[in-house]
């Protein structure tokens, strides 16, 4: 039995191999314990605002409760280095034992804030493949033990360590370094004309307007003006309302007036689209995708320059979308999902890999970048023959709900709207159901759908992590089921399959995924 150094603070090693966090963690974790108590704390404090002494006493009580919880947690958490796994035991009433195999650990990071630096401790965060959330957060260990910790973990899997390093290098945002070491091939470049079209399709103008309103609300006087104007209008005295009621009383519901109203609305909508177009042109200015070795490098932006890297092997799914306007210009929007390894995910709003691309260029592009993902000439399978009835039923119930919601506003007209929706559904549902197809091979699982607006998603079998077969109550009654293949990025799913087909697909995909090695 290897003699484990007590890498926690002195005299904290428990029962041979087990050890605990540094005792300072009781105080340092107090803040997060108190945060967990925030709601009851607020309630109690609000209720006891009367006497100052009472208030102070309650504050102390809350602090004591926090301390007790932190101490409880400190004592209940024990860790251990097993031969192949790192073991974390926690909890006394509800006990949990987490085992993290060394072979699965992708990274071990340590951070130290100011206070931690003063006290000579550090926080260690362990990441395995998958979610952004760490699998283990050890707050805190003594600084001396951090290096020891890393060494122990990576000693068991040198290959994994190297893999992580290689991936990290590819991500380092050092344009100079990358340019000299790797050839850059341009894969895609969007002209301003392309961006004009994309902006029109995107229609993010409304978001901009709402955002602008939000900003304006930061300034007190403007907010007051806005509120006053609104209350005046609704109160029946505002100038706009006066103008409109004046017009109505003069002319009645004359055709010219309705025409003017319609034109006004159309102009408004066009204005919003125009905003969206300008926003896209500025935001995605000079959108370029280049290939550097095993990764794609994306750059765009006029005022805010954005740079990102996407390792080709980390791509989980490739999807294309084509709405009505897309199809008028024979274009698609192509996007990918990536497992950890792309620094483009950070910073919120991420752009598709190819916001706008001529449809004919999709297949060659995919063939060049990801040869295993081609679905040309694949054998596309249909849904259950009665899938269109299920779609119809769900469409009608959706319209019903919409009708109920809109009823107060539209009253009698609701029936018309509902009727139109149902008729439209009746006419189109068979075609929509027929357009949904799926196919599976040793390399991919793909689903395409859409009659007017088309979509397709292709998921790599090697990237599949979990396969799911699901049946709702209605599915069971109709002999149908759905399949979803979860990758470490996106999901490829199809519903309303015949049950036996779905079951077969589940075992087929499970077997195919099991045959591939795990590579994030």
């Amino acid at each position: 039995m290897t003699d484990v150094d007590p890498i926690a603070a002195p005299a904290d090693a428990v029962a041979g191999d087990e050890f605990r966090l540094h005792p300072w963690s009781i105080l340092l974790n107090l803040r997060s314990e108190l945060r967990a108590l925030i709601f009851p704390a607020i309630a109690v404090l609000l209720a006891g605002r009367k006497s100052e002494r009472g208030f102070f006493a309650q504050l102390v009580v809350i602090l004591i409760i926090g301390l007790v919880r932190a101490t409880w947690r400190y004592f209940s958490q024990r860790m251990r280095f097993d031969p192949t796994e790192f073991v974390i035991k926690s909890g006394i009433i509800r006990r949990n034992e987490r085992r993290i195999p060394y072979a699965r650990i992708q990274s071990v990071d340590s951070t130290r804030n100011a206070i931690q630096q003063m006290l000579g401790v550090a926080e260690i965060v362990i990441h395995t493949a998958g979610s952004a959330e760490p699998e283990a957060k050890l707050t805190v260990l003594s600084v001396n033990s951090v290096a020891d910790f890393r060494q122990r973990i990576f000693a068991s899997s040198p290959i994994r360590h190297a893999d992580t390093l290689v991936a990290t290098d590819a991500l380092l945002d050092q344009p100079g370094a990358v340019a000299t070491t790797a050839r850059r091939d341009q894969v895609l470049r969007l002209s301003t004309r392309d961006l004009l079209l994309y902006g029109f399709i995107e229609n993010r103008g409304m978001l901009l307007i709402l955002g602008a309103i939000g900003v304006l609300f930061q300034y007190g006087p403007l907010e007051k003006m806005f509120n006053d104007a609104l209350s005046a209008e609704f109160g029946g005295q505002g100038p706009l309302r006066g103008y409109v009621t004046g017009l109505l009383s003069q002319h009645g519901l004359a055709p010219e007036l309705v025409l003017y109203a319609v034109v006004a609305v159309v102009l408004m909508l066009l204005f919003v689209r125009l905003l969206s177009v300008i926003w896209a042109v500025v935001r995605l200015h000079n959108f370029t995708v280049m290939r550097t070795g095993d990764a794609l490098r994306v750059e765009y932006g006029l005022f805010t320059r954005v740079n990102g890297t996407i390792p080709l092997t980390r791509v989980q799914t490739v999807s294309t979308k084509a709405g009505v306007i897309h199809r008028m210009f024979d274009c698609v929007t192509l996007d990918v999902t990536v497992a950890q390894g792309s620094n483009l995910e950070k910073g919120g709003l991420r752009e598709p890999l190819a916001p706008i691309l001529p449809r004919t260029r999709v297949a060659p592009l995919v063939a060049e970048l990801w040869p295993d993902l081609g679905v040309e000439g694949a054998d596309w399978q249909p849904l259950h023959e009665r899938a269109h009835i299920r779609l119809l039923r769900s469409g009608v119930s959706g319209a019903l709900i919409l009708g109920v919601v809109l009823f107060p506003a539209l009253r009698v007209w609701t029936v018309l709207v509902f009727g139109a929706a149902v008729v439209w559904k009746l006419l189109t549902v068979k075609r929509v159901a027929d357009s949904i197809r799926w196919t599976v091979s040793d390399r991919v699982f793909a689903v395409r759908s859409g009659w007017i607006a088309k979509q397709e998603i292709v998921a790599r079998v090697q990237k599949m992590q979990v396969l799911a077969f699901s049946q709702t109550l209605f599915d069971r009654r109709n002999g149908m089921a759905g399949i979803a293949a979860h990758t470490a990025g996106g999901v490829a799913a199809v519903s309303y399959l015949p049950v036996d087909v779905a079951r077969g697909l589940l075992s087929d995909l499970s077997a195919k995924a099991a045959r591939t090695k795990f590579r994030l």
Partner: protein, 172 residues
């Protein structure tokens, strides 16, 4: 104290949960209700004392609370039976398959090589009856955790060992 025979989990065959799961499930629910009910009642009393509501509205709120409690009690007692009836798990060469759910039945299949790490948890009642909950973590963005509740502790440990990474699993 129950003694559960450790005979090993047969491969390639569907297994049911332990019968004790039903009891453990509704005992846990009972415990939770015992704690949350006084809190809810207290909150309702505070709201009624300190806010201006009509008698009708106060009555309605109390009615809602009673209805919710009744619903929770009845569901807490009968739902675990349904869960037990429809839950299955299976170990085979490819990985593990877990079937669960009452209204919506889901079969989750996890290949062995895709398991990141495994949690083994035991609540108070689970310890009392020798059961455990297994939580399997994967890299899937859509459903990273899959739980298997209501297996014996020995079974859970065996499944956990079975899912450990094998030497040939990872590509470089």
């Amino acid at each position: 104290m129950l003694s559960l025979e450790v005979v090993g989990v047969a491969r390639g065959v569907e297994h049911q949960l332990e019968p004790a799961y039903v009891k453990v499930a509704y005992l846990s629910t009972a415990g939770r209700l015992l704690i949350s009910t006084p809190l809810l009642v207290g909150a309702l009393v505070v709201t009624q004392l300190f806010s201006s509501l009509t008698e009708m509205q106060k009555f309605a709120l109390w009615g809602l609370l009673v209805a919710k409690l009744l619903f929770n009690v009845i569901k807490g007692y009968y739902w675990p039976r349904l869960e037990y009836r429809h839950a299955r798990y299976m170990l085979d060469d490819d990985g593990v398959q877990i079937q669960r759910g009452v209204l919506r039945r889901i079969v989750t299949s996890i290949p062995r090589s895709r398991v990141q790490h495994v949690d083994l948890a035991q609540g108070v009642w689970e310890r009392r009856y020798g059961l455990a909950t297994l939580v399997i973590h994967t890299a899937a963005s859509g459903s990273p955790e899959t739980s298997l509740r209501g297996v014996s502790r020995a079974t859970a440990e065996e499944i956990r060992n079975y899912l450990k990474p094998q030497a040939f699993d990872d590509a470089v």
